[in-house]
């Protein structure tokens, strides 16, 4: 079983998965914040390798990516940061990036480098499963989980394909759109998760647009993991960002766990 899969093996535990852009606001910040996230109740951390044209991202992560690139962040540096982090942090790290930087690095070389940095998986939103076979073979060989995404607009055929191919978990995009804080989640989220659940055996994690404990709790009722990104980036921009960030993440954790307690109480 992969390191990521084992996270979901604890009965009744809902995974909390934060996203941060490597090198935003600074490289030092990334090195400090990941251990903080790990000790604040997170189960997996998504490390964003910044790309010049982040098509799936809204304004917050676009800005963070741009700033990180200005700070001199490269895929190589991200690999080095991941290597340093995996020495001290006990939870799995996954990279989220776009296809071109990986393609440019060389798929084989990038797979090797991820494995030797101790990274556990890859999320590449602009790599559709129809085009992924080469990277799938490489990541499989390196025991990396290649995690595919599904959107509410995905057809049954696409859901079946991703259910065949995604490893570690399936990333469900909550909304038709890009990443970013939203006031509310779509009303048909439950139906979407159920539609995928019928076909897929992998854990299902929901991301995009989740920014409050209430939203996290709603997602935790139906999914196996909650992914939060843009809100964390915004918090890191504030004064005393780390304190606010840790408090916010613990709040999410509590909100998700309380749900479990109340469910247990209800069942009892």
């Amino acid at each position: 079983m992969s390191r990521i899969a084992s996270i979901f093996n604890r009965p009744g535990h809902i995974a909390l998965i934060p996203y941060i852009t490597v090198g935003y606001p600074t490289i030092e910040a990334t090195l400090k914040v990941v251990p903080l996230l790990a000790s604040s109740g997170c189960d997996i951390v998504e490390l964003g390798i910044p790309f010049s044209d982040p098509l799936a991202d809204g304004a917050t992560i676009q800005k963070a990516s741009f700033q990180a690139l200005q700070n001199g962040v490269t895929p190589k540096l991200c690999l080095e940061i991941a290597r340093q982090l995996t020495e001290t942090v006990d939870i799995p790290l996954v990279f989220m990036t776009y296809f071109n930087p990986v393609f440019h690095y060389g798929l084989e070389e990038f797979g090797d480098a991820c494995a030797s940095s101790g990274v556990s998986g890859l999320i590449i939103p602009d790599l559709p499963p129809e085009e992924g076979s080469e990277l799938e073979a490489i990541t499989r060989k390196q025991n990396l989980d290649l995690i595919y995404l599904l959107a509410p607009t995905s057809t049954e055929e696409r859901i079946r394909l991703v259910a065949q191919k995604s490893r570690g978990f399936i990333y469900l995009v909550s909304v038709t759109g890009v990443t970013g804080v939203r006031k509310s989640l779509p009303s048909d989220l439950e139906a979407f998760v159920a539609r995928v659940r019928k076909v897929a055996t992998q854990p299902l994690c929901v991301g995009f647009g989740i920014s409050t404990p209430e939203q996290a709790r709603r997602v935790a009722q139906i999914a196996d993991g909650v992914i939060v990104g843009s809100r964390l980036i915004q918090l890191m921009e504030m004064e005393n960002g780390f304190i606010s960030l840790a408090r916010f993440v613990r709040g999410l954790r509590n909100s998700i766990d309380k749900l479990l307690e109340s469910e247990r109480a209800h069942l009892g």
Binding site: D53, L55, N100, P101, H104, T153, G177
Partner: protein
Amino acid sequence: MPALDELAAAYTEAKADAAFQAELDSLSRDYSGRPTPLYLAEGLSRHCGGAQVFLKREDLAHTGAHKINNALGQGLLARRMGKRRIIAETGAGQHGVAAAAVCAVLGLECIIYMGEEDIRRQSLNVFRMKLMGAEVRAVSGGSRTLKDAINEAIRDWVTNPGDSYYLLGSVVGPHPYPTMVRDFQSVIGRETREQILTKCHRLPDYIIACVGGGSNAMGIFYPFLSDKDVRLIGVEAGGRGLESGEHAASLVAGRVGVLHGAKSYVLQDSQGQIKETYSISAGLDYPGVGPEHSYLKDTGRASYVAASDKEALDGFQLLCRTEGIIPALEPAHAISYAAKIAGSLNKEQIIVVNLSGRGDKDMDTVVAALEVKP
């Protein structure tokens, strides 16, 4: 992705539908003014002192450029699919103007994404779009040019896939766009073939067109692909010179990469980040290029060169003086290269240049550029 599948299926169906083609043909004729003339530029040919240079006058098409061919085709397709909200991106503004015109005539809502930098240098076109009822949204991300406008248009489309149609303006992006845009632009090459056969009873020796995303070039090249004796040359924006790094010559100086859902030649840095491009002409200022051009380059069927800003300005002035035609800065790159090779050819040889647009929109840029010249 489901939106792309829906689009591909709808396009395949429309392509085979005689009624769709008939409506497109009728609007192309009566609204756009097709066929556009193929004009023997005697003054330019005389000046070059060699080959006969013909100009395919896309500058005379409605809205002033070839972009209307694709906008009409896709506008009709959108209406057929029941999509009332049209999203488009624009660089020089020519595609934006064409999209705005088509939306006005077909009664569709039109939202156009345009980089802040392009809004500044193409303000006349911004005004034209607004006059025809389009909403122009400024894009402030990245290099604030065409690539960023495409990013923003794609983000809008993935957010509103149900009611919206993305009217992409070049032979770039994910399938089916490169194929579909090529098909709608191929009318340029089909007409050229017929016209040159009527006038000269033979095919041209060279066809020269400028390449940004590559739609006008693809449109004129495509019907000649199997005519092996017709040399196809695409001219990219050399900007301040290839060695300066400030250019937009993806095919000449780029490497294979993946941008906007297509694998093609891309201008990128040593880390696979997409580079900011530079050209005096907003319409060529794009770090990628249509994947079919990459294929034509790799197979050797077409060749690609670059012309610098200065060469384009020289070509621009040359056409103004020898023909009384003010070209857009984009095809001025092609004019400049044609003038360069025409002199070394003999009088029996024929060059066709795709004059993809007219230059009114570029007056401010040209005035500024010529004033700073020593």
